[in-house]
């Protein structure tokens, strides 16, 4: 019998994944919100949670964080059982419905969350968290006067302030302008470089595609697909516009992958785990073989296209 990695309960806390959940189920008044959802987020890994509205993404996230009681299933956060609040000591969370105490100032909200997290973070470091989200000059202002975008930025600072090893972000850019979205993308990349695990629920697929190592796609409460971007998106392709192609050059093209031709345009199908040297080597060889190269265009099926394919396929099924 073979077990999926998501189904085998990890034992070692220190090396355990940031998130491990298995068989999560939740029904609300007879309607299934989440049905047998299992996935993992490795340490330092950025995983995107995708799916249409009502797919159960937020409910799944809330079950991970103990905010919603699962009807069935098991959760481990950083190797500790999710039912134990201590499992969340190193977890930062930005809820989809982000609201903070309007009678507190931004810096007081951070100080409160540092106390609740039970960690000792110097005031200077707390201020840095505010600066990181562009709120350094509003630290002393009460939240009552904050715009939605500013509150969401504060929410990011709250999620990051207690030196988390796992950050769960539920639609972190829903209230942000394009600059704010770019800031969040940079922030995610920085977290990734610091080996902080991130579970990101976002409907902005481009954002997910750019920062996530893996993607879990939920539909109607179930995992419709999961895997690395390369696994999900499948093959790469290389579109070339060439002339004076000799038989040797044709052979060289065929050696790289299966070739389809439309006039001067050729499309070479390349493997998913593409070696970065493959394309430059191929182009250099073609030039050496006397081929005139007019255009080289690497292509990939977009995640958006793939997501739509998966969801439509599910619908038909």
């Amino acid at each position: 019998m073979s077990l999926d990695t998501a189904e085998r309960r990890p034992e070692q806390a220190a090396s355990a994944p940031a998130v491990w959940c298995s068989g999560l189920r939740k029904r609300y008044r007879g309607r299934v919100a989440v049905d047998d959802v299992s996935f993992t987020v490795g340490r330092g890994e950025v995983v995107g949670l995708l799916g249409p509205n009502g797919a159960g993404k937020t409910t799944a996230i809330k079950m991970l964080l103990g905010l919603v009681r699962p009807d069935a299933g098991e959760v481990l956060l950083l190797g500790q059982p999710g039912a134990d609040p201590r499992a969340r000591a190193r977890v930062g969370y930005l809820p989809e419905l982000f609201r903070y105490q309007p009678w507190l100032t931004a810096s007081e909200v951070l100080a409160l969350h540092v106390r609740l997290a039970g960690v000792d973070i110097p005031a200077a470091e707390q201020r840095e968290s505010l600066a990181l989200v562009g709120l350094a000059d509003r630290a002393g202002d009460r939240l009552g006067g904050f715009s939605k975008g500013m509150q969401q930025r504060l929410g990011l600072a709250v999620a990051l302030v207690a030196r988390p090893e796992l950050v769960v972000l539920d639609e972190p850019t829903s209230a942000l302008d394009p600059i704010g979205r770019a800031d969040v993308r940079d922030l995610l990349l920085e977290l990734k470089s610091r080996q902080v695990a991130v579970l990101l629920n976002s409907h902005l697929i481009g954002e997910v595609e750019r920062v996530c190592d893996r993607v879990v796609i939920l539909d109607k409460g179930r995992v419709a697909a999961a895997g690395t971007l390369a696994e999900l998106l499948g093959q790469n392709e290389l579109r070339l516009r060439l002339d004076t192609v000799s038989p040797q050059a044709e052979q060289r093209l065929a050696a790289a992958g299966s070739v389809s031709r439309d006039g001067d345009n050729r499309t070479v199908r390349l493997p998913a785990d593409l070696d970065p040297a493959t394309v430059p080597d191929l182009v250099a060889d073609l030039v050496r073989l006397g081929v005139r190269v007019h255009a080289v265009e690497p292509g990939r099926i977009s995640l958006e296209q793939r997501l739509l394919d998966i969801l439509r396929h599910e619908e038909h099924a």
Binding site: L67, Y93, L94, L97, R99, W103, H113, L116
Partner: protein, 279 residues
């Protein structure tokens, strides 16, 4: 860790009260009530020069109980409408999501809220009650026989009501929980008055109404104990049995014990309801 969370949330609740308009509204209402009572008591002294000392004493002590009832009503309204929004409002708005995703037990957060509200509610009735007792003393010279016990019972009454408000707020909407808590407080008081009428008329089954309501919701029982502590023994005359502003007997230790158990039970129930609630 749990104690730290309880204290953190209690401090947060007190800060909320201080920064929201509730405190200002309460301060204004209390100042108006205290001002009016100071004026009224000074008139009792000035206008009723023809009264015997016993009649003047009776007037003062009954009016004191009336004003104290006003204070306890302000405290009841204030805490019930504070206890509701502070829990249900935070669940509804989403403020609770970020807080409860921290490594905290929900019971500890609820206990912290309760503690903060108890400190605030009790602090309010004790401070306003002290001011009232001083006003009466300086205007009429009347001195309540057991001021400390009376104020402690008023604080206990406030605690009972806000605990009920907290339980309701874990299950129903913020405004509804405030309204229901105050409604039940009023109903218990009316049932107490009905029971008093039953006692005065010697009708046991009507008198039972008050006894039963005092067991179900101890606010009225504690209030009657507080009145007894504030009033002069002169009021314990047969003509005044069952009077809504007269406490007939001191509170039994067993009843105080029941009130404490009641608070613990309701708080435990609130913690259980809150623990099971999906956010």
């Amino acid at each position: 860790m749990t104690a730290k969370i309880v204290l953190t949330v209690a401090a947060l609740t007190l800060r909320e009260v201080a920064r929201r308009r509730v405190l200002r509204a309460l301060a204004v209402l209390t100042a108006v009530l205290l001002g009016l009572s100071a004026w009224g008591f000074s008139r009792i002294d000035a206008e009723f020069g023809g009264l015997t000392s016993g009649e003047a004493l009776m007037a003062s002590t009954i009016v004191l109980n009336l004003v104290m009832f006003g204070l306890s009503l302000i405290a009841a309204l204030g805490t019930a409408f504070l206890a509701g929004p502070t829990m249900a409002g935070e669940i509804e708005s989403g403020i609770a999501l970020a807080v409860l995703a921290r490594p905290v037990r929900r019971g500890a957060v609820l206990l912290g809220k309760w503690l903060g509200l108890v400190v605030f509610g009790s602090g309010f009735v004790i401070a306003a009650g002290c001011a009232q007792l001083l006003i009466v003393r300086f205007t009429t010279g009347y001195q309540a026989p057991q001021p400390v016990a009376g104020l402690a019972l008023l604080a206990a009454q406030t605690t009972v009501l806000l605990t009920l408000g907290l339980l309701l707020s874990t299950a129903i909407s913020p405004m509804a929980s405030g309204i229901v808590a105050v409604g039940l407080f009023g109903a218990a008081w009316v049932a107490g008055v009905v029971g008093g009428v039953g006692t005065a008329l010697g009708n046991d089954s009507v008198a039972q109404v008050g006894t039963v309501s005092r067991m179900i919701l101890p606010t009225d029982g504690l209030w009657r104990g507080a009145m007894y502590a504030f009033q002069d023994p002169i009021l314990l005359s047969p003509q005044l049995i069952g009077h809504p502003l007269v406490g007939d007997a001191p509170l039994a230790g067993a009843y105080l014990g029941w009130a404490a158990v009641w608070v613990a039970l309701v708080l435990g129930l609130a913690a259980l309801a809150f623990q099971r609630r999906d956010l």
